[in-house]
Amino acid sequence: MKVQSSKFKVQSYSLKFKVFKLFFVLLIFNFSLLTFHLSEANAQQVSLAISPPLLELVIKPGKSVLIAYKLENRADPLIASAKVLPFRPQGNLGNIKIEKEFEGPIRFNLDNSEIKFEQPFFMKSGDVLQLLVRIRVPEGSPEGDYYYTLLTETQPPPSVAGSSAGRAKATIGSNILITVSDSGRIDVKGKIALFDVLAKLKLKILGRVFNFFESSDKIPVVLVVGNQGNNLIKPQGSINLRGNFGEQANYQIISQNILSNSERLTLATPSAELNCQDKKPSDYCKQPVSLLLSGFFIGHYTLSANVSFGQSTPNLYASTSFIALPLKLIFGIVIALFIGLLIVKKFTKTDED
């Protein structure tokens, strides 16, 4: 009986031990699950993408169109809202200034069943929304251009108590260029506002300005096209380089929009590339240019710009020139000659002595 009792005790002890071990394993499992599976404490991010980034519409009064924009949330969940505001061009580099209040005859609505303009909506991480924007031009709307931006702005994160902070909200835009025209005829009044080279040395001789460059320097060319009409225009054409030995090169102008009553620095391609991220960036980084010519130039060169704005529009022409001299080489030769003469003179004097 005693033996049986001690056997029972041993079994009971063994059972307790097993239960204890099971709990121990379970605890390790839970510990590892809770401790190592914690997500990283990343800063709250926002990343939005919109497509298409630009919309051009020529439309008659009384008509409407429906455009599907794709809005994508590529970061943390967010609350956003959409609205449309007019903009006007700022400067001649393609920048814009968005107005604070809506104005103009164009009417914008969202045809989505669940989303309206200026009403917040939620987007999960990775969500892609289609914003169905209806653009309506009421009957009797005045002809001309109207420029708007579809804006999607996020709400800033909630404030953190007891900590001074700047809370950021992100706004992403997509521009809408609308030309209202009853006849479909576009008002084309373009002009070449500026066509020149940005020379470090400019000399005025007998009333003429001469641009001088060192032969190995890059030649920055600036072409600014103005639009004096009431509708946006797209310049086409090329910048042509002609040397005094008959050599030629042609650079195509990129057909960017020039909004009504504004000017724009027109880009041409292919152009030399600059690395403006260096600690000591090139002087050419300070001012944007249309074209940067690279090579070794010697002599007199003529640059001409031929610009048109589509079929049945007049061609605009402008030209400029520059003189490239191997100044560094000449300077080096002069120094070498001077040193050489000094040495020869010294040896001659020694021989005479």
Binding site: V25, Q45, L54, A68, G126, A168, K169, I172
Partner: protein, 269 residues
């Protein structure tokens, strides 16, 4: 018997050890976020797309516009009454315009007088098409307390607010001294204003304040098309870092000061 117990113990030890390793290696894997589940070859979309019905997609003159839904490519369609072009016409690209801020809660923590604090956030613009864009910033009022009317002024930098060489919303100036107070920022990286590159890495400028009101300041812009029209695409990601700086004087009332910064990214036209 002893030998058996020892073997059992060893087996149990290995079991515990294996369980631990299994849980560590299996459960500590990085998350497979939905946002990563796409490539140029495929895309897994789980969001609800509001496809319009046929009646919704009819223009006023009865022509079907169904092919415009989800239109992302540069293209053109014409019909009686309108011509529509989506995207940049001189480039054939379907990469959308995107804008990211790495940290939208730019926290300074506890601020001590005479000890300037800095915090950073990265701004990234991606544009496969036209490439021309601008990013602007402005503050919706000064840094101020939620209760009361205490606020921290925008910085004038080391030269002080009465000096003509002070930093302004458009021009950066040196802010090195611990005695200089206020709130400002500097930019480094790609496509930043030249005032920061010419002035140097210790130069700051104040945020434009919409409550005054002041126009937003351009902090990133590129007038260059990011795609080489004649060959392969260039770098389509443009990134810069904004460093915000805050310093207060001894007489600044205690409190939690906050403001909202509005970053706006728009493509060109």
């Amino acid at each position: 018997m002893k030998n058996y117990n020892l073997k059992l113990k060893i087996v149990r030890f290995f079991f515990v050890f294996l369980t631990f390793n299994f849980s560590f290696l299996t459960l500590n894997l990085s998350q497979a976020l939905a946002i990563e589940m796409n490539s140029s070859q495929y895309r897994i979309q789980m969001s609800n797309v509001n496809i319009g019905a046929a009646s919704q997609l009819q223009s006023d003159n009865g022509n079907l516009l169904s092919d415009t839904l989800g239109q992302t490519a540069a293209g053109q369609f014409s019909s009686d009454g309108y011509i529509l072009k989506a995207g940049f016409q001189y480039i054939h690209s379907i990469v959308p315009f995107s804008f990211a801020i790495s940290n939208i809660n730019i926290n300074f923590g506890e601020v001590t007088p005479g000890l300037p604090l800095t915090a950073t956030t990265d701004l990234t613009v991606s544009f496969g098409g036209g490439g021309e864009y601008q990013v602007t910033v402005n503050e919706l009022g000064k840094l101020k307390t939620a209760v009361g009317n205490n606020y921290i002024n925008d910085t004038c930098c080391d030269l002080g607010c009465s000096d003509p060489g002070k930093c302004t919303e458009t021009a950066a100036a040196v802010w090195n001294l611990n005695t200089t107070t206020g709130f400002g920022y500097k930019m480094s990286g790609e496509d930043i204003p030249t005032t920061f590159t010419t002035c140097g890495p210790t130069c700051y400028r104040p945020f434009p304040d919409t409550s005054i009101p002041e126009d937003p300041a351009i902090i990133m812009s590129s007038p260059n098309v990011t795609v080489d029209l004649s060959s392969k695409p260039k770098d389509i990601y443009h990134q810069s870092t904004m460093t915000l700086k805050l310093n207060i004087s001894d007489i600044q009332p205690a409190g939690t000061y906050q403001t909202v910064l509005n970053f706006m990214a728009t493509p060109s036209y």
